[in-house]
């Protein structure tokens, strides 16, 4: 044989090269230190404090007491599970709604809009810089009786309606509104990883539009969709402003309970115990999510390899 195989076999793995490129010992750790020290003091330490307080007796404000599980017992025997369940339920509804709302838009941004997609991205990012409670307050003015929506209906169509404000639908609207970019952008990223040729190949081999969606696009875009969904879920779960501003007191979210325990209740240990449960729950989800993701690939390093 006129074998070129031998040469190919000696082309050892690429990653070696990256390691060969390293300049010297570990400038990485050195440059990471400032951020790590800061986060240790201002992120890890407060969380540890919360963890510590959650084992202190009710109504205490330092760590000098023998640890107790009474706060956790109080959480599990009280009615807090209702807030947890409601928060989980609302977060779930938000995620499902956002999936449906965002798919066509994400598809359009990744595949159809071309240069317009950049403009669209900008248009979606800009409101993120407006304070969340101002935007939510805008919804209050829009939805309130006599506001833009109902006032407009009445003045122009003579139609009198009831406001959806201060109830579950308004909270869902707020959550959908605030967390839309967090579902949308990962989804766009996911869909843009589905190459045009792959879908065309599927069409060419006789798949229908629906089959292409189900068999090719959806599975390939799944990582992006999952990341976006999980992200939205975690953020909605810990949300506070939406239920307070748009929901009145219709639904007490878990973050509400935590705040009440810390502030009005002056019961840090109980607030801490509630926090620990929420942190453990969403922290596990975040870490799972982050361990799935190849950050280097998503953020651009994979591209030049």
């Amino acid at each position: 044989m006129t074998a070129t195989t031998e040469i190919r076999a000696t082309e050892t793995d690429k990653p070696r090269h990256r390691r060969e490129r390293r300049l010297h010992v570990s400038p990485g750790l050195l440059t990471a230190l400032p951020v790590l020290i800061f986060l240790a003091l201002a992120f890890a330490a407060p969380l540890l404090a919360v963890f510590g307080y959650s084992f202190m007796p009710e109504g205490t404000f330092d760590f000098t007491f023998p640890p107790t599980l009474e706060n956790y017992l109080a959480v599990f025997s009280g009615s807090y599970y209702i807030s947890f369940a409601k928060s989980l339920g609302l977060a779930l509804v938000t995620v499902v709604l956002l999936m449906v709302i965002c798919w066509p838009i994400a598809y359009g941004m990744a595949k159809l809009f071309g240069r317009w997609a950049n403009l669209m991205t900008l248009a979606i990012i800009i409101p993120l810089f407006v304070s969340e409670n101002i935007r939510l307050f805008g919804w209050v003015l829009f939805l309130i009786k006599g506001g833009v929506f109902l006032g407009g209906l009445k003045a122009w169509l003579g139609f009198d309606g009831e406001s959806i404000l201060y109830d579950v639908p308004a909270i869902v609207l707020g959550l959908v509104y605030v967390y839309l970019p967090f579902t949308l952008f990962p989804m766009v990223l996911g869909i843009s990883m589905v190459s045009r040729e792959v879908t065309e190949a599927a069409f060419d081999m006789g798949a229908s539009r629906w089959q292409v969606f189900r068999e090719v696009e959806l599975p390939l875009a799944t990582p992006g969709i999952l990341i976006g969904g999980l992200l939205t879920f975690i953020l909605s779960l810990g949300s506070l402003a939406e239920s307070k501003i748009l929901g009145g007191q219709a639904v007490i979210m878990i973050a509400d309970e935590i705040e009440t325990a810390f502030t009005f209740g002056q019961n840090w240990p109980l607030g801490s115990a509630l926090s620990v449960i929420l942190i453990l729950f969403s922290g596990t989800l975040v870490l799972t999510l982050l361990s799935w993701v190849d950050l280097d690939r998503i953020l651009g390093r994979g591209g030049n390899d």
Partner: protein
Amino acid sequence: MTEGRKKRITHNLIAVWSGSLILFLYLPILTVMLASFSKQRYFRFPVPAFDGKWYERAFSSLTVRDLVSTSLSIAVIVALASVVLGFFGALAFARFDWRGRRLYQRLVLLPIFFPQAVLGLALLIWFSSVGIIPDWRTAVIAHMVWIVPIVTLVISIQAYSFDPALEEAAFDLGASRWQTLKEVTLPVLWPGVVSGALFAFLLSWGNFPLSLFTTGADQTVPEWLYAKMVSGYTPLVPTLGALTTTSAALVLILGYGGWVLMRRRQAR
């Protein structure tokens, strides 16, 4: 023929749907703008009479001045400090290969996905337990916990496209380590640094959940707005809301414009 038409209809539907989304995103902001010009004490639609008097009041109000100066001080310090930490953080995130990098990347991102209200409360009890009385300076720390990771991420995206050979070339051509950082690394990453600072400023300026628990006796604009929304409504709420929104947009436009100008001057 029909296949093509069906495709066109789908595309148009998607375009219309996307257009409505943009409207949906700006609807509440536009409503606030509209309300800020309303003459009445309580907002009604259609607006019976327009007036700019609430703007006059806002500009002359001492409370507003205090609020803005608190918010501004926090945002400026947060932006500067976050950029310094984020610059080095991004080098560790994207530029260097080191043993703990993957773990570090995940740790750094963790605060971004953390419920901000809970984070604010956790910081509050942490400050109290170590004997720090919260004021606007503790809010700077609180904002940074959330913003430093974001800035790190923003600068990292720039650092990923950075060719390590540039640094090696500079070194090989006779530059010291410090000269390499000053002459090559920093200038090349500059776009990321600038957008990181802009992000940091705007996110701090608009932040509410973290400020709520960590400013102590001081108050930021979003906090005051929230307090007034919940009780003791005044027409200054939409006015100040509209003002902070416009000023954020102004910073964004000025920042972007300045950036484009700088690029153009450089390209000449």
